[in-house]
Subunit: 877 residues, 2 copies
């Protein structure tokens, strides 16, 4: 197997497409060398195949030989030999995985220097100081990176040397001082490794290559791949390249350049450079860099050559490129290029503008593929600006965006100070419907318990309000919380939370506000063109304002209107409780009648906001005890202060309806079977709202959805109730006579059995909507409330799960059920409408799957609608 | 479509095989008439097709015409005409479904009589009294059965008539008195129906046929079919047959006869008869019947004809037959036959003896197919004898068998009085591990809460001790319980419970003790011959005594040894708690070490009992909070009396480990991921127990099972722990060096995802064991603890589920997952061992499915092992 390729190797495909094999850096070096003929120092790449072989069975057979041959070719082409005491060749060794990855070994420069060759370098360059400076840099770099010696160990002697010499900067150290420093550095190496610093260039090279391979499985690299969902099997390539020197003299320098501004997307080159410096100096920020435009003054020829190269790179890569270059005694060398990272704003602007750039001629589909979920998130939610404030704790990022405010520990306090105009963060161990007024008044919400479907998380996402939940390391007591290190955050202290990452910061982090640029509108309109007539995007919304909001974000209807959220409102909850506590059918009917009136008003608002677009109303789903007070609180109160008569009744009901595993208990249509009056009431309210809308000249389109079906018989029965209620209202109202035949009735597919028996169930369904949250819970047997903290973290860290199946659909397991239900449902009814309304409906990777599976729509929270519009289009492309 | 067939119709197949079409009664009447040529009164059968057509769309087109023609043929063959004022034909109308079914319309006799034809009958028979008695019987029967008039309404006038006449029995009423009674009866009908009693035989016949059809959907018939798992779609047939009269004179009579004794299985005819009586008199038990042997004296010719018929019937049906016959003026008529019902003891005896009967020559497989689960249950568990005591409440039959004892309401009391030799029933709202000593001392257990997997149910089944759980209608307070009607049962009162049916009786019901006759041994040995090398039967057992018991019942190993049950023992629980509360690794290790020692002892006992047979040990499965005290109890105590320091710690731990939905929370291998020391400890204890057994000359065979796997990666990791622990013990113990390679490692398949991904999981599994309890819970999203009461009842009653999926495997849903996992697992490993260890492993119908799906073994509670041995053999036949 060929493990080593020169940059100039003539690959069969363009090297830039060979990142799997050559890594990103190697692929682009080869592209610049062999395809574009740009000035790139010679070198070779050791492939990811070699790394994988190394990880599986140690240093691969034949690799030493191939490296030796490549080294020989390099030496021949450069006319120099590694370690040559007269005129040594120096090389850099860099890692280069398919994806750029912090936490991996970065770079070892000046490899090939030793006690002998440093003298040769000195005489060859007639610059002893340069030679010894290069050697001491090499020893410390190699020591740190390859031999794992802490950086401090090298910093100490350096500081001492400067102190002894009475100088402030490294550059002022004399050759003699550097020579002495080299001795100190070698002693450090001897102490730490028990061996002398390697003098043989062969040993140096082998050590550096192994260090690169080994860094692939370093803890930071591992954690990064987990976070970024990168496979652990890829491995990294290693690039060995002849050194050029930006630090040789004042006719030398080094810099980084972008072909456009990566922050704003503005056209024109952008970057920094330093005269008489090596690459690391630019990145390290030790010296003040110059802007790229200054290069035009100091190196006009180099500048004009570089601008020419930028232009060729953009045209060739058809995208903004990020480069590293070095000027060695007036000659320009390109050390690296890649398609550059960019902010959301820049991504949108570039994508739009590059469609009009004659050198690039991006097509609209190509432009769409350039935009990621992160880009949209950045322009749609406020973000933390850069700040020195420290992250004091982390929870689950439950609702994206950042928020800053004073901590308050009760909903009442939050509401009080929030209403007075203060910025407030509500901090609770968990929230319940009784906290809603405080949540409304807050900038953001922080809880120490609960997962991504906890009350706080669901409500905050619905409102697009930042939230961090389940931050288990903060211990809340009365009006403060304490961290593991003893730090206490009290009422009124400023904190900042990042609902995207879960970070919690003490103090006020400056925020970068969301701004939806006009380029976003353009991009989304292109996405819509592609989706048109194929896949639509709806939103999950439970009230008029949310529905309006969703429509503003481009939702083409409501895919999930959770009627229980209406039940939890302050003025509704007492009625719901009266219904549950009802002592006879008369009491129950009276409570239902009150609820009916309230729900009708809600439905009118929603249908008004979504006039002319479909609204899927899910009949009551959660177990009844969710509408009752907590049993435990009541029992404790009973034991301490006693209960009032009303509380006694509530306790009895709460005990009666409580369940061991409510998630898989008496919920959904099961509740309908036990209390059919409930569903009839809801359908009646909905149909009366429709009648009202028709009377007011509106165009209501409703789809009624039955939750948690497991058998065809259930849906047949539920359909009977719904049709009965519709007929009853229609017989009383002329406005409904025409409308009633347009109402469709369908079901959630959210249990494995429903998916398996889709054929039975489709008999009675006009549509299926996949409830992938519940389907995931039941397919895995993962109660989201219970496993999403400690357990899920352990599973992801140990690689037992590639990703959290509640964030991204588990295609091999849950996905098979979705595909199977779609197939079986459509086998019976080829036109069966299919949608998804779980949170996966807003996750791009899951959306790709759903689109491929032939779903007609996805539905997600209003704030995810733009993401979904884009992702659907990308899936279709 | 042909809706009507004469008994003498020449069907293409033997009519006895046409029960689907003709119903049981009609099929056998046709068999006796057209195949055996026995003396059967002529008649015809209206098919179940007609009934189904009637249920779907009312009286079927063409039926009237076909009935009229059949009636005409009957009249022709009998030489008499219905309603003929001179010499009327009378007929009986009886329902006859495929399965005999109480709650359906039974019989209308003497149809065809009216005010005119009664006179003809009188003159024709020269017996006015007989004619009027027949007419008044007809009116009351028709009134009751067809016209739904309460029986009391007819009893009143009859009693009055007897009183007026000054006689005691109906038979003493004169013709005149009967005439007057007929007027009264007709007035009753007029009052209730608003119409005169129908005089037209056509109307009478149509009314009776419709009443039979209608009775199919009567509430009692519906409930019976639910209980007996009979489809509601079958419908019933209707038989119309010329009347013969056992009540014509003293040369007439009627009786029921069995070809063998249905109670004991003894050979020789058995039955009752009455002289001068109609069939209903025998059944009603108003008059004292004579034994069949007395018939030999009073009707020697008839007796010898009947014995000949019995012998032909047994030879023809190759089974014991149950018959009804009538003697009309000395002539024998057969009115009905069918294969007779029998007790468990009789079923076993007949099955064995009939293999040696030259007229029957039953094969062993045929004999096996004659035995049902109920038969075995009867001989394996004590049963209620007949008793007048009333059932005061019903719960769920959680562990079969009947028990009688005094009610005690705490485990301590039960243990105290039980140990004093009293028979005790422990009555608790629910039980917990702390009640175990009281449960041991009791005859049976009754709880008012919990389902079929509650602690009480699971423990009682394991011990084969009768239990009724979830009897929600009894309200327990302190030392008594109260029923809805106010009845109070106090401490020390005798109660009887039937763990098979869930019945609770106040007082001492006499018990019929279980006896395992030698025929059982014979039958089970035949079953074993058939199973040999194909499907084995194991037991679920968690300790030495249970394992021994299981082996005595014929278990061929343990399919599920739940190690957590060992953790719950009085002397283990404190150690488990110490492990959970451990403040550092040292404390945790010390507690684990104590547990290891205790578990080793347990394992040695189990392996000794199962020496030479495989024992599948499941590593810890339940959530940790099950080993901690109830949070609520602690919170309430805290609020009232305060907590001790230890309790404070327990509260903290209980709060930390409690979950919203523990059934789908941190359980099984997930616990192993969070606390890997646990599994290592268990494997170490097990392997040390093996070493001990080898040292003692034993032959331990162990299979280690990982619970709740959802991904291949999980099993790979868990397998690593297990192998690591095995290697460690093996390296310390020479006895294990050879054994260790024989240990197999597998997993439960109990989540839908595990079933779907069986291909991944099989890579790391030597065997799969289907945990169909959990698989059912997750496939349906049914938390068994929550849905098995009210909700399941509603679902079964409304026909939303055909049967409780926790009793009998849901083949269309859960079964598909089992089949799919088997197929995918064996695709990778054709020899993958497959078993089932859920409670379905003891349910015959589920066993048929498992055997068909190719499973290698089923495992069930020890007391179900005989049932499973039989069912496996039946499935193979």
């Amino acid at each position: 197997m060929q493990f080593v390729f020169d940059f100039s190797h003539a690959h069969e495909r363009p090297p830039k497409d060979l990142k799997d094999l050559l890594g990103g850096k190697g692929a682009n070096l080869a592209e610049m060398t062999s395809v574009l003929g740009l000035p790139v120092p010679h070198g070779f790449t050791i492939t990811t195949d070699a790394c994988r072989a190394y990880m599986n069975g140690g240093w691969p057979e034949g690799l030493s030989d191939q490296v030796a041959k490549a080294r020989k070719r390099l030496e021949t082409s450069m006319g120099k030999v590694l370690g040559d005491p007269a005129d040594p060749l120096l090389v850099s060794v860099r890692s280069g995985a398919k994806f750029s990855m912090p936490g991996m070994m970065d770079t070892v420069l000046n490899l090939g220097l030793n006690d002998e060759s440093v003298v040769g370098l000195a005489s060859q360059t007639s610059d002893e100081r340069f030679a010894f400076d290069s050697y001491r840099r090499f020893i410390s770099m190699y020591g740190r990176i390859v031999q794992d010696i802490p950086a401090d160990e090298f910093d100490g002697p350096l500081e001492q040397a400067k102190e002894s010499a009475g100088v402030k900067s490294d550059a002022e150290l004399s050759a003699g001082a550097l020579k002495a420093l080299i001795s100190d550095y070698k002693a450090v190496v001897q102490k730490h490794t028990g061996k002398a610093f390697p003098q043989s260039p062969d040993d140096q090279l082998r050590g550096a290559i192994e260090a690169v391979f080994g860094s692939w499985n370093g803890p930071r690299a591992f954690a990064y791949r987990n976070r970024e969902k990168i496979s652990h099997d890829l491995g990294t390539a290693v690039n060995v390249q002849a050194m050029v020197f930006g630090n040789r003299d004042d006719n030398s320098g080094t810099g980084v350049g972008f072909t456009r501004d990566p922050a704003t997307g503005a056209q024109g080159a952008y970057g920094d450079f330093l005269i008489n410096a090596q690459g690391e100096d630019v990145v390290a920020g030790i010296r003040n860099t110059l802007s790229l435009s200054a290069l035009a003054d100091s190196f006009p020829d180099v500048y004009s050559e570089l601008m020419g190269i930028f232009s060729r790179l953009e045209g060739h890569y058809r995208d903004m490129c990020d480069t590293e270059f070095t000027i060695d005694q007036g000659k320009l060398w390109m050390l690296q290029t890649r398609v550059g990272k960019r902010t959301g704003v820049a991504a949108l602007r570039m994508a739009v503008e590059m469609t009009q750039d004659p050198a690039i001629k991006l097509t609209k589909p190509e432009a769409l593929m350039r935009i990621t979920e992160d880009h949209l998130s950045q322009v749609l939610h406020p973000q933390f600006a850069k700040s020195d404030l420290k992250v004091i704790a982390k929870g689950l990022g439950a609702s994206p965006g950042a928020a800053v405010g004073r901590a308050y520990f009760s909903a009442d306090d939050a509401a009080k100070y929030g209403d007075q105009g203060e910025r407030v963060i509500l901090v609770r161990s968990e929230t319940s419907p009784e906290d809603v007024h405080g949540m409304i008044a807050s900038q953001g919400i922080l809880t120490s318990r609960g997962g991504l479907v906890s009350h706080a998380a669901v409500v905050a996402r619905g409102w697009g309000k930042p939230a961090v939940v389940g931050a288990e390391s903060i211990k809340i007591s009365n009006k403060s919380f304490t961290l593991a290190d003893g730090t206490t955050v009290s009422e009124g202290d400023y904190i900042s939370i990042n609902g995207t990452t879960g970070e919690i910061v003490l103090g006020e982090v400056p925020l970068v506000n969301a701004e939806a640029p006009k380029d976003l509108t353009t991009i989304l309109s292109w996405a819509d063109e592609i989706r048109q007539g194929k896949v639509s995007v709806r939103a999950n919304a439970d009230n008029g304002p949310d529905a309006k909001n969703a429509r503003d974000f481009g939702a083409q209807g409501i895919g999930l209107c959770r009627t229980e959220h209406m039940f939890l409102a302050d003025d509704r909850l007492p009625i719901v409780r009266r219904m549950i506590l009802a002592e006879g059918p008369h009491d129950e009917e009276r409570a239902l009648e009150e609820l009916r009136q309230a729900q009708k008003v809600d439905f009118v608002e929603i249908l008004t906001a979504m006039d002319g677009l479909p609204v899927t109303v899910r009949l009551l789903d959660p177990p009844l005890h969710e509408f009752l007070p907590d049993v435990e609180t009541l029992l404790v109160k009973e034991a301490s202060t006693g209960l009032s008569e009303d509380e006694e009744k509530l306790k009895k009901a709460a005990l009666e309806w409580r369940e061991q595993n409510p998630m898989i208990g008496t919920r959904g249509v099961r509740l309908g079977v036990l209390k059919p009056g409930l569903y009839e009431m809801q359908v009646t309210a909905l149909m009366q709202a429709c009648a009202q809308r028709v009377k007011d000249g509106g165009d209501p389109i409703v789809e009624i959805m039955i939750p948690l079906t497991v058998t065809g018989e259930e849906l047949e029965m539920a359909r009977g109730w719904v049709e009965g209620a519709i007929d009853k209202v229609a017989s009383q109202d002329a406005n409904l006579a025409l409308l009633k035949d347009k109402v469709t009735i369908g079901t959630m597919i959210e249990t494995p059995r429903a998916a398996l028996r889709a054929f039975d169930i489709a008999q009675y369904a006009d549509f299926f909507s996949f409830g992938t949250n519940d389907l995931t819970q039941m397919t895995f047997g993962f109660s989201r409330d219970d496993v999403e903290g400690k357990m899920m973290t352990a599973y992801l860290e140990k690689g037992l799960l590639k990703r959290n199946p509640f964030d991204t659909l588990d295609q091999p397991g849950v996905g098979e059920l979705v595909a199977l239900a779609s197939e079986r449902g459509r086998q019976l009814k080829p036109d069966l409408k299919l949608g998804v309304c779980g949170e996966h409906g807003g996750d791009p990777e899951s959306i790709y799957f759903f689109v491929k599976a032939g779903l007609n729509y996805v539905s997600c929270s209003p704030f995810r609608v733009p993401v979904a519009r884009l992702a659907c289009a990308q899936a279709l492309i």
